[in-house]
Amino acid sequence: MVDIREFFGKGQETGRPNSKSSNASTKRESARPTIRNNSALNPIEINDLDEDTNCNSNMAKNEQTGEADLLEIKLPNQASSKRVSTMETSSKAQQQAAPSVKQKKEPPQRASKSKKASVNEAISADEILSQIPSVDLSAVHVKENVTFDFRGKSQAGNDAESAADEADFPEGRPNCLLGLTIVFTGLLPTLERGAAEAIAKRYGARVTKSISSKTSVVVLGDEAGPKKLEKIKQLGIKAIDEDGFRQLITGMPAEGGAGTAAEKARQKLKDQEDQAQRDAAEMVRKEAEELKKLDTSRAAGADVNEIDRLREEHKLWTVKYAPTNLNQICGNKTSVNKLKNWLSNWSSYQKQGFKQPGRDGLGVYRAAMLYGPPGIGKTTAAHLVAKELGYDVLEQNASDVRSKSLLNAGVKNALDNTSVVGFFKQRVDRTANGQNFVIVMDEVDGMSGGDRGGVGQLAQFCRKTSMPMILICNERNLPKMRPFDRVCLDIQFRRPDANSIKARLMTIAVREKFRLDPNVVEKLVQSTRGDIRQIINLLSTVTTTTKQIDHDNAYDIALSWEKNVALKPFDIAHKLFEGRNYTESGAKSFPLYKKMELYFDDFDFAPLMVQENYLNTKPTVLKPGQTHLEAVAEAADSISEGDLVERKIRSSEQLWSLLPFHAIMSSVRPASRVAGQMAGRINFTSWLGQNSKMGKYYRILQELQYHTRLSTSTDKLGFRMDYMPTLKRRLLDPLVKEGADGISEVIRIMDQYYLSKDDWDSIMEFMIGPDKTDSILKKIPTAVKSGFTRKYNAAMHPVSIYKTGSTTAVGGKGPSSTPDFEDIVDADDDVPPADDENESKDDEIDFKKDKLIKQGKPKAKKRAAGATKKVPAKKRKT
């Protein structure tokens, strides 16, 4: 077991080396020299520190609370309530002392590196800048032969250890660029843009992309844009080159020196830190209270065992630091407020019967739908809002089966319940009545196969619920979520930006006693894509091994915790077609394997998206002398070859190991030929639609072919390609030329070919090109059309196939090939099947078996029976 004390000891290692307490028995600790302290000494030491105003009082305070925790864990049996209470009082005393001390205190980062910070701190940034020669704006070509490997540096980590790096790029003082706003433009001779920006940020500068009046300095490289140069001149901003940037970093004093900008920035940082401290202290206080409560209840003989206490201690960080009131939710303030407004006015909406939208348009919704990516506090927000407004929460999430029947059994009852409750408590104070429920349906998009009919049922509830419902999901736009359109108040939660998370993280850092450089928070946020929960988990894990997260290890941490997000087809296409990725320098940062990874993000859609969009680019990667068309032809060729590979993969051979090859052939290679800017929007693949359209037409064609089979002798394609053009003429021209007089002729032909009215319509649909029938059909007068339909429906028509279900004639089991002796008698008929001779015999059988006649109207039946000769073809179907 790792001694928790060791963690706290390590946390202060740099700030207060003498207070290090450790346990040599743990492996980690054994690697370094340690000073062993008796844990019993700690309280005394803390008291000493209290008097020492020069020391970082915050650290001291943390130390103290840490020790308090420690003692509780270490000596659970002895930990008397008395001891805890002494701890508490001393920590309170410190809180009061803290503000006065803070004015003079140095941020913790400085303490470690302050050896070098002997430069006069009164120098302001302007003074330093004035020493650095400005770049002649008319000749912005500055070449240098300094080799600099930033990558090596950033990965090597601790700059104090690697002297070579120091020589290459000057080591600045911590936060020396604080308060400066820097713009990088053009190609720097040795530094890459990203690297340079990282350096600047690392020293506390703000890096922006565009030049404004707030910009304090511009670092100019080669080939800077003329507009930017103009703006520099116009605003009179100091422009320096890379060398100057170096000088700036070496020259600047720590903490940005004197100067109002730096002062302001420092103040801001300090405020942030103070806030963090306050929050942490508040949290500590609450925790102590909780503990006290536990202790007292135990003292009172209540059944509180050790496990309960440990459970308090061993909470996950994400639980421990979950927001406990609405103000603590990071970001999404408007969304939370909207939800709060809605819920607080819910009962008044209900009184109006959800008829009046109200000023904000919330009044018509009985349910709200929160949606947004995971880990940004949707569930928390729902619960907190409910809590704040005095609602009890009835939650169902993906761990519950939510099928239609179960929802009906469970939730529906609840819905009815409250309606009665509402009836009773009309005049009762709502908070006093604990019967106010809100249903929270979490993870609605997680309703799937097992929850048959659940989504529809839930949407039904949303329409008629008599108690507020809050639904939560990640993806609002899924087709599955369609039923919730317009029945729910949609409230989107967005990923909070780094700034809104920062404060919270700093609080945690203070509370958990590790050092978190505010400047790297952004990086962590970026790598987890704004997932607060994940960042907290990350911190929780990382701090078990290191107590310091700053620029030196943030890169590694961010990389190893990078959230692997499978891109959507559109993003895949966008990235694949980005010309920048295929240039020499672009390929370095986005090498082949990464392009292939794009394909693997969605290997069903990537090739289709590439194929759909490769014609719509403006290529920037053309080889010299190559035309756009040639590039496109190469891409098309590659796509075509890729299809052969796909066949190998998907056909019976199932050679899935060819996927990487397919990635190259179907996606990366074609994209590499035509990559550039997109000429328009990226389109979704039309292949799917076209394919299903084709499937539909083939089904229709097959149907047609079956129907006409008895009169024609051809296969499906022959029917389509040879018959259909002429048949269309025979079926359409009489109507066009003769109008109503042509109807009977058309119907005769249809009967001859066993075509129904639907078949007539589908044959018209089959025509393409100049023969397209849309316009011709429009020309036929409506009277003729309706006359046609009426006349067709009025008469009986022969049908070639009749699905008889379980009758004797057809069916899976009974061999239909059983000799039909009735027919055999006719074997010596004339060559063309004569109509009249065998009519009488056949008809008798017909009426017994033929469902067609039963199905027809009684009138039709009579006529069929009376005058069978009018429907000569019917006989053939027997």
């Binding site: 066949r647 040879d722 003429r729 023969d771 179907k877």
Partner: protein
């Protein structure tokens, strides 16, 4: 009131009007009907395979074979999917198109054919149908349409059935090309090639039809139609009818040949390609191709017609060679690949490149 092509379809071997030698051959087969071999009729579209096949059956069984009906048969795949197949049948024969079932055609062969094959005809009498009026023979004929699109599995399933049950069943398979028929099947069948009618035969038939229908026509126009139909008699007759309808039953030698809608689209596309060799044109071609494919025009046909149309419009021999080379490359890929649109697009892009330089 049916179309001429159906109205004038010959129903007996004697009435068949082209490729007389084949008629004699089939007549001799029908006279020895007891040991009718399994047949494999192959030949291009519109050459009269089915017509001949039915005429042969008529000669063997009598005109009862034209008393057709369609049944819907249900099958259950091993994975418990229900499939339906329409079976055209007369008392003497069955006609199936297993390719309607796509990949499940093996089931059809295994279940349906076996079922038919295992049932012995009971009421057979000696002598031909015309003499006795009873069942002519103890076997039943099964016509398999589109045999070239049978999967290999299905063909393998067919092999043993053909031998084992040859007492009760005779197969007549119809296909366009024999290349996709496996060798064991070929060796079990009598292979009959049904050639297209020659131009003069086509013209004779057209003339006869015109006379019967009372269409006045100049001789020149028959030549034109025969040329354009490319040996496809069905096509020729349908074209004739379309033209006759269009020109009020009097055809002049100058009357324009009416081409089917899809062919017109392809020819237009070919012209467009040669006129405007640009990426924008390719985009337009894509939508045209999608349109053609969606409306059931097979990719193979599109490529073929497109290639021929391009060849016609190009004068340079080296260019012609290049186009042919492209066409054959992409034709192969069409067969080996999955998504026809990729290959058609690739072909057009390549041709544009070749011809623009």
């Amino acid at each position: 009131m049916s179309l001429w092509v159906d109205k004038y379809r010959p129903k007996s071997l004697e009435a068949l009007s082209h490729t007389k030698e084949l008629n004699y051959f089939l007549q001799s087969l029908s006279s020895e009907a007891r040991d009718l071999p399994h047949l494999l009729l192959y030949g291009p579209n519109g050459s009269g395979k089915k017509t001949r096949c039915m005429a042969l059956l008529q000669a063997i069984f009598g005109s009862g074979v034209y008393k057709l009906k369609i049944d819907v048969r249900q099958f259950t795949t091993p994975s418990n999917r229900k499939l339906e197949l329409n079976v055209v049948s007369s008392p003497y024969h069955l006609e199936i198109t297993p390719s309607d079932m796509g990949n499940n055609d093996r089931i059809v062969i295994q279940e349906l054919l076996k079922e038919v094959a295992q049932v012995e005809q009971v009421d057979f009498q000696t002598g031909s149908a015309s003499e006795s009026g009873g069942l002519a023979h103890r076997y039943k004929c099964v016509i398999i349409n589109e045999a070239d699109s049978l999967t290999r599995d299905a063909q393998a399933a067919l092999r043993r059935t053909m031998e084992k049950y040859s007492r009760n069943i005779r197969l007549i398979m119809l296909c366009d090309t024999m290349s996709s028929i496996i060798a064991p099947i070929k060796s079990r069948c009598l292979l009959v090639r049904v050639p297209s009618p020659t131009n003069s035969e086509t013209i004779d038939i057209l003339e006869k039809v015109c006379k019967d229908e009372g269409v006045s026509a100049e001789a020149e126009i028959f030549n034109k139609i025969a040329d354009s139909s490319n040996g496809n008699l069905r096509n020729a007759l349908l074209t004739l009818e379309a033209m006759a309808l269009n020109n009020e039953m009097s055809l002049k030698s100058t009357s324009a040949i009416i081409r089917p809608d899809w062919l017109v689209v392809i020819l237009k596309m070919a012209n467009h390609i040669l006129k405007d060799k640009s990426v924008g044109c390719l985009v337009e071609c894509r939508s045209t191709l999608y349109d053609l494919l969606a409306h059931c025009i097979p990719a193979k046909t599109i490529l073929q017609e497109l290639a021929f149309a391009l060849l016609k419009n190009v004068n340079d021999d080296t260019l012609k060679l290049a186009i042919m080379k492209c066409a054959s490359t992409f034709d192969e890929r069409l067969r080996l690949g999955n998504k026809p649109i990729y290959h058609l697009e690739g072909f057009i892009a390549k041709v544009m490149c070749e011809t623009s330089s």
